[in-house]
Symmetry: C2
Subunit: 176 residues, 2 copies
């Protein structure tokens, strides 16, 4: 099971990740995988959530001292992790992010941060949806630098652009 996930991360491109290709790379018959994972979708879900383990969690003292900053850091780190795995972006988009354990943990921490920043519960939940959509979407945009025309933007420019929009959102969320 774990072996499978590792192999997948090395191979780039979820589009090119077929059960058969994976089985081939493991030197095994295609159907042998179904003893371990049940499904192609399930397999991809596992890989996606696994990657999110790399997102940096803020220390408790940073969360207390500057909750808004901590939320921004979570989103920035998520952006960096996602951009570092461009081949997985189509899958993240399709599923609106992973809904596994890692994703839930991150969501919980960020929601907590918004609460500490004085954002009301209902608003915080709206804000989370907005932030997640924005972060995944912009990471996906950054993962395909080709069609951002004339001349194409550098990774640094894209990250700065992401940060600009993120700050607009956070400003609106925590209030004027």
């Amino acid at each position: 099971v774990l072996v499978a996930a590792r192999e997948l991360l090395a191979a780039d491109g979820v589009g090119n990740l077929s059960m058969r290709a994976l089985a081939r790379s493991l030197g095994v018959a295609p159907n042998a995988l179904y003893g371990h994972v049940g499904n192609r979708d399930q397999l991809i879900d596992l890989v996606l959530d696994d990657v999110l383990a790399q997102v940096h969690r803020p220390a408790e003292k940073d969360l207390a001292a500057n909750p808004t900053g901590a939320v921004r850091d979570i989103m920035l780190s998520s952006y960096d992790v996602l951009v570092a795995h461009p081949g997985l972006m189509p899958a993240y988009l399709e599923r609106q992010g992973a809904r596994g354990v890692q994703a839930q943990q991150l969501g919980h921490v960020a929601l907590d941060g918004l609460g500490r920043a004085g954002v009301e519960e209902a608003t915080a939940r709206e804000a989370m949806r907005v932030l997640i959509v924005y972060t995944i979407g912009f990471a996906a945009l950054s993962a395909r630098p080709a069609d951002l025309g004339d001349p194409p933007l550098s990774p640094a420019e894209l990250r700065a652009n992401f940060r600009t929009g993120l700050d607009w959102l956070l400003l609106g969320i925590v209030g004027t």
Copy 2:
């Protein structure tokens, strides 16, 4: 060519739209399509941009009177059109929106609106990327209401959530 596009819109789900299925529904051999469209990707591009023709363009006088409002209306209308075609969302996500004629027209109008609202050129271009990513992303989220847990949100709630985030962004974009 056009006939093909129409048939596709009726059929729901880009995932289920194969060349072969399309050919079947047209009562024609699969390879016959290649005389008209060259590619599956090309075909999908055509469909996506075609749908954007339904997005409402603001009248010149509204654009002049309230440029920020006009930009918001474009994004809201885009959201509505996208949500009305949930089956196409995976394709929009993958391509970060259409890059055809309709998409370019809309982008041009919105950029013009931001300019009239007093946003500097470079900032306006950043803002456009942010707005597009946000709008497509949220429309995609709204197109899969299933996994927005306990209880799932209604279309109206999702649209309100979209509008909230959109206003946060516009507030940040046009300045404090």
